[in-house]
Symmetry: C2
Subunit: 819 residues, 2 copies
């Protein structure tokens, strides 16, 4: 007889329902008969998408080889389980009028979600040619994972999706990001047991400690434990049940396990589990509603572990080998009949096992009694407006009031990031009511000198709070967990549902999320290609604590290489800014927060440093993106002998210091000083929308005169951007992977980016390339100047070895060249 273990404590600590059948299948209870048929319809559509072309979608005639796709893509293994979940969520939505999004974590599970959104009717609204009839179904089948068609996983092309099931690891962090500041939203997040093995996913379970039950929405994680990956069992499927439960209790959830394979038992068990969760969620929300949002306590949220067979409802055996419930059904249960004609019959039998003729009418429309299970239009998960947001722009202050009125050409010292903090504080205030702006960072917001925001908000954390905890509450705009993955995932989820924000990170450690950056940028690129997708708020990445000022943290903390990766992405999306001072940083960041559908990468210093441009100058300089600083140059409109160029705050300082030495010691040398704040200005116009025209570029940099370029990052990066330019006149200094614990100035010395090396680079040019063109006086002085620089470098090394700090002539250096 069928065994059904059922256990539910009043405490709600566990609901376990084992649904197993030993003596043939249990009949579907009446209550679930229609739901079961709806599930069958979705499974039928899923298998159809994977296997069929467009000729015989409803099997009105015997299946022929020509009906079948030559290449099979998409994973069936995860599909029926996800269809099962989606159908049941629909039921829950209808019964409780929930505002719900479905996140599909498992890879290549596209056939399920596309089938569901099609059954809802939503798909045909977005893609009218995929109509709700036989011809639409035919196209639905063919387009799936077919050239010119749609991807095998849930993707930007899928209505209702704000998460792509391509690279694994980020479903849950996206879910937790999506519900922030949306108290009425529930995100059902299906996590595959393969994905659950990744690091980012493993830590994202802890995001429940940052969720405010009053002011944020709810994440309902559903761990889909179907046991297999491509070629292995999954780890969580192969630990004892008490470990499995302990793990999720330890993560702070109330895990509810639903296990089995017999639909007659599984429908009621899963519905019961969902209802239990919905009740708990309601209780938690009602309780929280009566609390103060600043002090409301962390509840124990429920989550579901669904143990269902891999490739459920698929062929039990093929060629004598177990398929359903084994890793062999992870991808497709069997190869295409195009290659193995003997499978044609198996496929037909399989398709017919869903009884399509009892699901769709003559025209290929879903039968009305099944269509009645679809939630009301505004509650369909395929159409949730948060998944394609019309977002509200931020209210931004004039950044001028947070800048430095008169920086006196470097005589005023200030921390760039601190001034940005003042600006961000005001942004937090102005948008407090809208609740649509958040700052994310791995325990570094204060270290990155954005601490001013804590005057007006707190870090949101719902773990235990103890006396002495500083600026922590249950409701704040700053999210900090020591996981760049979680911070980026939160932010992406928040942006993808219409919020605004930024992530701040040490520059070296932004590499941790290179792959997340890739995938988010790909999503944005696809939004550009899909007509109905709206533009998203920009992803703003603030890289403070950068390579040149990680002298105290050492070699592991020194790496500016991320920028080089950024510029390999789509030019219409990526932007790289290297503001040289606080006023420029304010101008740039104001622009970034106003921008739309971009990834803005901004590198900024946090330590007190000389300030250069007035607010007005900064505004104009940043608008231009690159420009000659006349006050530092002495070429006065004529062709210079040499160009000193720079990008980044520390390189700007060194380049100016070098220029001041050169102008004093070689007054006859005509120097043009150029600063680049918008890196993409260097790229040819054909390669990036911000690229300067060749004429404009040549008018600044010439094509023949030596350009000594002091660069924040790896020299290669500049070299590749300018490869197509006319001139070959750049010598780029930058980070050459040399570093350790030392002084800030010594960091530049180790990488030949310091003022002395830059002066020597110019002397080199004078002695060689420019030899014919300059006066004997300059050439003579250059020889001596070079020696003197060498002496200073020796002196520097001795000084730091003795005193551990830079010599006063470095730290106290001021720009003192007359304009």
């Amino acid at each position: 007889m069928a065994r059904a273990k059922h256990q539910m404590k009043n405490s709600g600590s566990q609901v376990a329902k084992k649904a197993k059948s030993n003596e043939g299948p249990v009949p579907i209870p009446d209550e679930f008969k229609l739901l079961d048929k709806y599930w069958k319809a979705s499974n039928y559509l899923s298998v159809g998408q994977i296997y069929l072309l467009d000729k015989n979608p409803l099997l009105r005639r015997k299946l022929e080889l020509s009906d079948v796709k030559p290449r099979l893509l998409g994973h069936f293994g995860t599909t029926p389980g996800q269809n099962f979940i989606y159908c049941h969520l629909n039921k829950l939505i209808c019964e409780r009028k929930l505002n719900m999004i479905y996140i599909s974590g498992p890879g290549h599970g596209g056939p399920a979600i596309v089938a569901q959104v099609y059954l809802e009717g939503t798909y045909s609204e977005y893609y009218p040619n995929i109509s709700e009839d036989e011809s639409g179904m035919a196209k639905l089948f063919k387009q799936f994972s077919f050239p010119g068609g749609i991807p095998s996983h849930v993707a930007p092309e899928t209505p209702g999706s704000m998460h792509e099931g391509g690279e694994l690891g980020y479903s849950l962090s996206h879910a937790y990001g999506a519900v922030l500041d949306k108290p009425d939203l529930v995100v059902a997040c299906v996590v595959g047991d393969g994905e659950a093995e990744t690091g980012p996913l493993a830590t994202s379970w802890h995001a429940n400690k940052f969720l405010n039950p009053k002011t944020d929405g709810v994440v309902l994680p559903i761990l889909h434990l179907n046991g297999y990956k491509i070629d292995n069992s999954t780890l969580l499927d192969r630990i004892p049940e008490h470990e499995l439960k302990s793990l999720f209790v330890g993560y702070g959830y109330e895990p509810i396990i639903v296990e089995g394979s017999d639909p007659g038992l599984m429908h009621p068990a899963f519905a019961k589990a969902l209802n239990y969760c919905a009740d708990r969620i309601k209780e938690i929300k009602e309780e929280a509603a009566m609390c103060d949002s600043q002090t409301v306590k962390r509840p124990i949220w429920p989550m579901i572990i669904l143990r269902s067979p891999k490739g459920w409802t698929g062929p039990k055996q093929v060629d004598g080998l177990q398929i359903e419930g084994s890793y062999r059904s992870h991808q497709v249960p069997m190869a295409s009949p195009k290659e193995h004609p003997e499978y044609l019959e198996v496929l037909e039998k399989w398709l017919l096992s869903y009884e399509p003729h009892t699901l769709f009418d003559e025209e290929g429309k879903l039968l009305p009694e099944l269509k009645a299970l679809v939630p009301p239009k505004d509650l369909r998960m395929g159409n949730n407006p948060y998944t394609n947001p019309h977002y509200k722009p931020l209210i931004l202050p004039d950044y001028g009031e947070f800048g430095i009125e008169d920086p006196k050409r470097g005589k005023v010292f200030a921390s760039d990031a601190t001034h940005l903090g003042y600006f961000l504080k005001r942004v937090v205030e102005l948008n407090a009511k809208a609740r649509n702006f958040r700052i994310f960072g791995p325990d570094e917001t204060k270290s990155n000198r954005l601490g001013a925001v804590f005057d007006v908000t707190t870090k949101q954390f719902l773990g235990e709070v103890r006396e002495g905890d500083d600026r922590v509450s249950s409701d704040g705009r700053v999210m900090e967990m020591l996981s760049e993955h979680q911070c980026e995932g939160w932010l992406e989820g928040y942006l993808l549902t219409g919020g605004h924000g930024l992530i701040n990170s040490y520059e070296a450690f932004i590499h941790i999320i290179t792959s997340m950056f890739n995938q988010h940028t790909k999503w944005m690129k696809m939004c550009d290609d899909i007509s109905w997708r709206n533009n998203l708020p920009s992803l703003n990445m603030l890289l403070s604590s950068h390579v040149w000022r990680q002298d105290h943290n050492g070699f592991t903390h020194q790496d500016p290489g991320f920028l080089g990766h950024v510029v390999s992405k789509k030019p219409n999306i990526i932007r790289v800014y290297l503001p040289p001072d606080a006023n420029c940083l304010l101008s740039v960041f104001h622009h970034c927060l106003r921008s739309e559908h971009k990834v803005n990468v901004v590198v900024c210093g946090k330590h007190p440093a000389p300030q250069w441009l007035t607010l007005e100058e900064a505004r104009n300089h940043c608008a231009a993106g690159v420009g000659v600083w006349e006050w530092a140059s002495n070429d006065k409109g004529s062709e210079p002998d040499i160009i000193m160029a720079c990008a980044g705050d520390v390189p700007t300082l060194e380049a100016l210091a070098a220029t001041s030495i050169l102008r004093k010691r070689l007054p006859g040398l005509k120097i043009r000083f150029v600063n680049v704040v918008n890196l993409m200005k260097l790229a040819p116009q054909s390669q990036h929308p911000h690229g300067l025209s060749d004429n404009h570029f040549d008018s600044i940099f010439t094509t023949k005169k030596p350009v000594i370029f002091a660069f924040h990052g790896v020299p290669h990066l500049v070299e590749k951007l300018i490869y197509k330019r006319h001139g070959r006149n750049f010598d780029v200094s930058g980070y050459n992977e040399e570093g350790t614990i030392s002084t800030a100035f010594d960091m530049t010395v180790m990488n030949n980016l310091d003022r002395f090396h830059l002066v020597m680079d110019v002397c080199d040019k004078i002695e060689h390339e420019l030899f014919e063109k300059l006066s004997p006086e300059i050439k003579f002085s250059a020889v001596y100047l070079r020696q003197e620089m060498n002496t200073l470098l020796t002196k520097h090394k001795k000084y730091i070895a003795e005193f551990g700090v830079d010599m006063p002539e470095i730290t106290e250096w001021k720009w003192d060249v007359e304009e």
Copy 2:
């Protein structure tokens, strides 16, 4: 009265000892009196390193401002706890003669480990100038985090270390990698509660399911729960104890909690916990010794949670604010007296609280009764030979027997990776006895076509094994977990202790571990700089399932950008290979496995593809790294009109197909065909040891003749490598971030890398740059040829939209130009 809760079940499920004092400190039990002094000595040395220069190390006179460092680095917060652990591990080692390594996960905890290794006497053996006396101690203090000195975290400079505490997240995966195949080794891995929040760390707890208790060593994780990060509490410190315990039970451990702050109680409690763990480990090992290594079961390993105050033994309060036990002692408890002279007295009092004059003798040597606590020389953790291995090279077969004797210029089709699999199978066999070679991959070894290795080994996994599981056992050479982080961490730990191996990954998803690659490469660079560090086995990264054959998986799986990042690292370490066929792949990989102290990144195809070079040709071609393929060229020693160059298997195919079209349709055009297998050959000699001389480069590529370069990766990458070359004659085609689900050939079309576009690129050159130099006939034909190519592209698009596969003239194309 002091309260001491003590609970130990016979089942060993929990040992908890709370050590709290309400009525003044509990006296140190006699048994621990010397150990407590040793701990004090290490804490004294730690504070000395952070705060003091070299003038007054033993406080023989009153502390003066000139004795103090101007800049304070290193984190005191974690230090006393780690000293406490290290001292107690020493005791355990002495009592049980354990072969043990200490991994220090927490960031900037250098002062502790350096102090310990110095007290052992090991430090002075590696650095004789840091002698065991007052003058050595003076240097020890000054060098710490001082220019020209040593880093603030455990680093390659630290004897006994094989893990750097810089970037957080990898301590535990390194530990689990280190113990593989070293059955007698125990790695005590201290995980900071900050680090524990990262994704990679969160999933690495699960590595216990892959450890063979018979043939591998033991990891003893010690979670150091001291509660604070830079600016926040830690997550795991702020969950209820039952959740904390559940979490680690769920991870499959037996957690033992030791909590308190009173040394009088903490010493016996921690010693008891360690002894309990050592007993359990011994029992487990003894039990396993009697089992078959293939079927031995997973034990429940013990782990310790140590709850001790942040900044333990430091100042309780400064300026009226709590320091010990708060986030304020995460870094240094108070700023330098150089800036706040009022702290000078606090510092002196603090240093004297350790009673240095009762620890060190007149000469500054540790007192003999304390020195007696140091383990025997061959068991000192600072000197464990695994941490600076003299590794044994792999036994390698001649790769020729796994190659393709006569590939008939592309008429033989084969999967490159499959042939590599044959070779690796033999490598596994030849080194089976040595047990020093492993393959790591995230569930992809078979998918990446290396499945032949499963003829002779298995995947090692100690979770539950079920009927139908394929090639899984408790003792195998292949490690698969769906976490690139864990796979890379395992491999790094294995290499750092003298093993050999490779990681295989989908090319797009190698970005997940960009940051781990950075840090490992930095470690290797530092090894080069440190005289006593031995060379390490190379890190081999096999990127199969690459961008051009991820047509079926879609846009998220298409990203060759990692190569661009690789080349920004130190030239003497990094290598990039793009073998065009199976024989070249074998030659390259054989070379990689033989190489020393390199990071070898190899991109290879896995799908059946045409094979080009004979074994002999491949051997020579790979040795040269770049070369003219005479059989495909028709310039016959003269200056060519055009150069068709390529790197990567798919670009090679397309470039050859384009060449065959050109040679047939424009027979008068002199084409030189160049293939690049070793990408770094393109870099100038001054930038990379493999770089061609300018003369050599120019002799191949000329400086004026157009080079149409079909490249596997992002075009920028080639452009930056050749920026300093004489010519400007390269037009590079490569991945332009265009992709979706389509056919393999269509992927190249979308990115203008296909044969038709390449031919059109040549036609462009003929019509413009080469116009003056070529015969009217060629120019005339080129116009028509270009139109024809356009027609073929249109035909291609139509064909795939209808049939979903490439047209036969693509799939069946063969090289058929006479040599």
